[in-house]
Symmetry: D2
C-alpha cells in the first residue's frame, strides 16, 4: 500500500482525488489538509464519502505529510511552490495538480500567473505529467507537474499530427468548451447557477493561462515554436471538456489521418480513438479517466477537425494524477482507474 497525502482537499479536484484514491486498491490515504477546515471530518463536507473516508481535515502546519510516500497538491496556484520543496527534500514524491511547475520558462510563468516563483530550482526537475508523452520520465520523477485540463485535451488531440509533421504549425486553433467545475469550488458570481445555466460564453480570449502550457507542450513535440489560437468557453454542464481543433494540412496532402491516430494511441489505455465519422460527447467520459478522440476532414478539404473529449476532473486532473502515481510507483497504469463512465 502506498501511503498518500493530499494538500488542500476541499476543491473539486480534491474531492475527485478522494473518490479515486478511496477506491484504489493499493493506496492508503493517511492525511488530507485544509487550513480553513481543519478538524472537520472530510465526510461532513462531502457526504458522498460517508462511511468510506474517515479522515478529518488536518491543519497543514501539523499534518505529518513527510510520512507519506506520495503527496498530491490539490491547491490553488502558488501553494505547492512554497510547500513542495521541503517534502521533496525529505524524500516524498510530489504530484502537483496546480500550475506551479508546468511551465519551464520561469519568467513566462511569472508573467502569466502574476507572482514570483518561490522554488524555481525545482521547475527544471519537474516532469510534465502527460503520460502519453512523458511516461519514462514520469517513472523516475520526484516531482510531477500534472497538466491542466484544457492542455490535456488539446495536446492529446493535436499530438499525432504534430509528431508526424503533417500540418501547418503556425496557425493551430483550439476552440475548447469546459464544464463549470473547471472554474473550481469557489464562491464567485460568474459561476453561480443562475449565471451559468442556460447560457454560453467565451472568456479570456485575449489570453488564458493554459495557452503557454499548450504551446510549450506542442512546441516540444514539434521541436520548433508552434502558433496557437486558444479560445476557452464556459458551458452549462458540470464536468467535461470538448476540444474542437483545427489544423491545416501541409504540403503532403494524402495520408490517412484515422490510421495515424489509431496507430499512435494503440497502446494507450486511456486514449480511445473513435471510428471514422464519430462525434464523441463529453458524457462518454464522464467520471472516467479517458480521452476519446475523433478525426474529420470535412468535404475532403485541407482543414482537419479533431474532436477530443475528457472529464476535466478525471483525465484533466485527479485521474491523470493517479495515473501518474501508478507510473511512479510501478503499478499497472490502470490500477484504480477502471471505472466506467456514467451514462446517462
Amino acid at each position: 500500500m502506498i501511503k498518500v497525502g493530499i494538500v488542500g482537499g476541499t476543491g473539486y479536484t480534491g474531492v475527485e482525488l478522494l473518490r479515486l484514491l478511496a477506491q484504489h486498491p493499493q493506496v492508503e490515504i493517511v492525511s488530507i489538509t485544509s487550513r480553513g477546515d481543519a478538524g472537520t471530518p472530510v465526510a461532513n463536507m462531502f457526504p458522498t464519502l460517508r462511511g468510506r473516508v474517515s479522515l478529518n481535515f488536518e491543519d497543514p502546519a501539523t499534518a505529518q505529510l513527510d510520512a507519506c510516500q506520495a503527496v498530491f497538491f490539490a491547491t490553488p496556484n502558488g501553494i505547492a511552490m512554497h510547500q513542495a520543496p521541503a517534502l521533496l527534500d525529505s524524500g516524498v514524491r510530489v504530484i502537483d495538480l496546480a500550475a506551479d511547475y508546468r511551465i519551464s520558462d520561469v519568467h513566462e510563468w511569472q508573467q502569466w500567473y502574476g507572482m514570483t516563483h518561490a522554488s524555481p530550482e525545482w521547475v527544471a526537475q519537474a516532469v510534465y505529467g502527460l503520460p502519453e508523452i512523458n511516461r519514462a520520465a514520469i517513472r523516475e520523477a520526484r516531482l510531477v507537474a500534472n497538466p491542466g485540463c484544457y492542455p490535456t485535451a488539446v495536446q492529446l488531440g493535436f499530438l499525432p499530427l504534430v509528431e508526424a509533421g503533417l500540418v501547418e504549425l503556425d496557425h493551430l486553433i483550439a476552440d475548447v468548451k469546459s464544464g463549470v467545475s473547471g472554474a473550481g469550488r469557489k464562491a464567485e458570481m460568474a459561476t453561480l447557477f443562475s449565471e451559468a445555466a442556460d447560457n454560453f460564453k467565451a472568456y479570456a480570449v485575449p489570453g488564458h493561462r493554459h495557452l503557454p502550457e499548450i504551446r510549450q507542450g506542442l512546441s516540444r513535440v514539434a521541436a520548433r515554436p508552434v502558433g496557437l489560437t486558444f479560445v476557452p468557453h464556459l458551458t452549462p454542464m458540470i464536468r467535461g471538456i470538448h476540444a474542437t481543433l483545427y489544423a491545416r494540412i501541409g504540403p503532403q496532402r494524402s495520408f490517412d489521418v484515422q490510421a495515424l491516430y489509431e496507430r499512435r494511441f494503440r497502446d494507450e489505455a486511456f486514449v480511445d480513438v473513435l471510428p471514422s465519422g464519430s462525434h464523441p460527447d463529453t458524457r462518454s467520459v464522464r467520471a472516467a479517466n479517458l480521452c476519446r478522440i475523433a478525426v474529420h476532414r470535412p468535404q475532403g478539404g485541407d482543414m482537419l477537425v479533431i474532436l477530443s473529449v475528457i472529464d476535466n476532473l478525471v483525465k484533466g486532473a485527479a485521474g491523470q494524477a493517479v495515473q501518474n502515481m501508478n507510473i511512479m510507483f510501478g503499478l499497472p497504469e490502470s490500477t484504480g482507474l477502471t471505472q466506467l463512465a456514467v451514462l446517462p
Copy 2:
C-alpha cells in the same frame, strides 16, 4: 393592422412567432394551421398563450390563408415549396422560415436537402431575408427566405471583415454552439433531456445544411467564392447560438477592427457591437431580437476572433421573420420587437 397567417405553428419557431405576433401592435393573427392538430385551441398546446391567443389550429386544406396579407411558413423543410406558390399567386406575401428558398442554386439545394424542389421558379424571386444585407430588396419582396439560425450568427459576425476584404477568404472557420431548441420540437432520442443535458458534442462535422447557405451569403458579399469550415455543436441550453469565428488577417495588417464593426452596424437596431474586450453571453439576447458581437485579436497576432451571439428562435428565426415583415409592410423595423432580453 396586417392580417397574418401561420402555416405549421406547432414547433418552436411557430410558438415563438405566436409570442411575438400576439404582442405586435400592428398585427392581427387570423389563421394558424396544423394538419395533425386541427381543431385544437392553440392555447391548449401552449398554455403560455392562454387568454391571449384564442385561435384554434385549422386544417391547412380549409384555412383561408389567401385572405391574409402575409403568411409565415414555420414548417419543416419541403412544405413551403409546395404551398407557397398558390398563396403568392393570389397576392399574399410569404415569409418562409424553413430552408426551401434560401439557396439560389437549386441543384445544390437538392443535394443538401435530399429532395426535388417543387417550385424552382420561385427560388430566383425569393429574397434572402437578412435585413442587414438585403433591406432594400426585402422591402419589395413577395417571397422572403428567412435565414437559418447558424447562418444569421455567422454571416453577421463575418460581414464587416468580408465586405472590407481584410481577411483571407479561403480558410474561414466557424465554430458554432447551439441550444437544443435549434433541433426543433420533435420526439427524437438525441435531444431528450437525459441525452443532451450535462453533455456537449459536435455533430455533422462532415457537412451541415447550413454550410452552403453561409458560403453563399459570404461569397455574395465577397463577390468571390469563400472557403469555410463550419462545425456545429449541441449545447445543454434551451435557446441561444454562440458563434466563435476565426479569420486570418490579410496583407494589410494594421486596421482598427473594433471601429470597423462599430461603423458597419451603427445604424442597425438589432446588431450590437460590444466594447473592445467583451465576451457576449447567449443569455444577453435570450428572447430578444438581437445579435451581439465582440471582436478580438489575441496577443496582437494575425488571427481575428469574432464572437457573435443570437437567440436562435428570435434573431435566428421568428424575430427576424417579424423584422422582415415590418420592412415589407413599411413599418418601423422595431415594431413589436423591443422586448428586453430575460436575465437571469
Copy 3:
C-alpha cells in the same frame, strides 16, 4: 409619467425591476442606487439593458430619491427599515421587495430575521402587497410590503379554500420547489452551478423565514390561527416556483373545488385557474406576471392537492411590485405587465 427610483438594483429582483420598468409606458426611472457599484453604468453590469437604460448606479448617499414619486427597495433584508422612513416622510411612496415590513408582529419578525427592527412604527402602516387580497388597501398605501416569492405562490394557492372554510386548517402542508435565482445574486458556494445543477434538495426544513409570513396571511384570511408545515426545495432551474399544497377536506365533503377556484379568481388578471385535471409547469409563467393554479382531488378522496406556479422574480417579486405600483397610482393594473411567458 411616474418618476421612480430603485434602491439596490444589482440583484436579480433589481435587474428584473429594471426590465419591467424600462418597458413600462407610464414610468420614468430617474435613479438607481448601489453602494458598491456607484458610477458604473447599469448596462455594463447587465448587458441586456444596453441601449435601453442609460443610468449609472448612484451612491445612495447622494441620490435624490426624494424627488421620486415611488421608490422600490430591492435590497437585502434590513436596509429598507433604515432608509424608507425618511423617504416616506418626504411624501415618497415606497414598495419594499424585502421582508422588512411583511410581518406585523415585530417581535416575531425580529426572531426570524435576527435583527432589531429600526422602524417598527412603520410596520403597522405598511400594507401587505398581495393585490388579490389587499387591493383596496394597496391603493391608499404609502408603504407596501411586497410579499415573498414562496408566500405568493402558497397563499394564492390556498386562498379560496381557506376563505371558504372548507378544509382542516391545523395541518396544511406546502411542499414548495424554487429555482435557484430565489437565492439571490450573491457569491455563495451552495448556489454555484456545479453544486446546484443536476441536483435536488430540501433546505430549512426546521424553519424558513417565509413560514411566519404565510401563516400570518392565511390566518388573517381564516380569522383564526392556521397550522402549516412548509418545506422549501432547491431545484436546478433558474426561475420558477412550484407549490404543491395539501389540505384535508373538512366535514362538508361535497363541493366543487374547481368552480370555487374559478369563481374566486375570475376577475383577477394575474391568476389563471387551469382546466380540471391540469398540471401547470413553471415555464408556463416564465418571465410573466402570472400565477397559474390547478386543483386536484386524487381518487375522490378527502385530500386536496393544489398546484400553484409563479415566476419567483415576477409575480414573486418585481412583477408584483409593479402591479402594486400600478394600483397605488391609479393605473390599469396590467400596465406594463402584459409580456407573454417565454416558451421554450
Copy 4:
C-alpha cells in the same frame, strides 16, 4: 462467475445494469437482447462501454438465455410476463426490473397497467425485491420483482415509522421529485431537453402506477390498509429521486425519531441515516447504490418530515437488481456495488 443475461438492454436501466455488471467481479454477461437492435455491438449504442463490453445485441428469438443462471428483464412493462415463465421453468432465476410481478392483486395490476396479465400464476411466487424488508425471501426466490424507483425511495423512508406504528396511517403524503431519466430512453415530446430543462411540474396527480405498489408495500408492513397521497414531479436533472414524506404523529407523541431510524437501518449497507438536521441532496447518491435519509420534526410539532434520496437508476433500479442478485446467489450483498457517488 454467475452467467447472466439481460433482456432489453437499450434503455437507461439496461445500460446502467451493463455498467454495474461489467464491473462486477463475480459476473459474466453472456447475452443481451434487443429486438430492434440485434446485431449491433452494445458499445456502438453506448460508447461508455467501448473496450469493456464486447457483446452484440442478440435477437430475443435466438439468444440462449436459458444457459444463464440469472436473467434480468430491463424491458417495458408487459414483456417479462410473457417471456419469464419459460426461463423460470428451465431453472433460470429471473429479476424483473419492470412492474409485471410487483402487485400481488392481479386484478388491481390489470387496472393500473391496462393489460391482461399473461402469467398470473407466477405473480404469487414472485418475491418483492426490496432487500431491507424481504431479504430472506429474496435469497430463495426464483423470480424477483424489482421495486419501482419511487416505491423504493418512499417505502424506505416511511418504513421505520410504519413498522413502529407511530404515525397516523390514513393520510400519509409522499411528495416525490424525479430526474428525467426515470421516464426512460424513449423518443417522447415531454422529455425533450427543451421541454424539461429549466422547468418543473407535477404529473399524474389523479393517479400514478406506483401508488398501488407503495400502498401494498406499506400496508403489508403495517398489517392494515394504509392511506397515501402520492404526487410525482418531473425535475430538470438526469438522475435522482427526492422523496419528501409527511406523516402525522399518533397519540404516543414522545419518541426519538432519529434513534428509531438509525436503529432500523444500522445493519443495512445501502441505507444511510444522516445526522439530525441534515438535508440530503440527490447528488450524494448519484451513480451509487444508496438511499440516504434524514428525519425532521419541524418546530417540535406533530408533523414528521422525512427526506429520502436515491439514484433512480441505481438503488431505484439496476443497483437494487444487482443487490438482489447478490443475495440470491449467496454473495456478499455489496459485491460490485461499492462505487462511490460522483460529486460534483
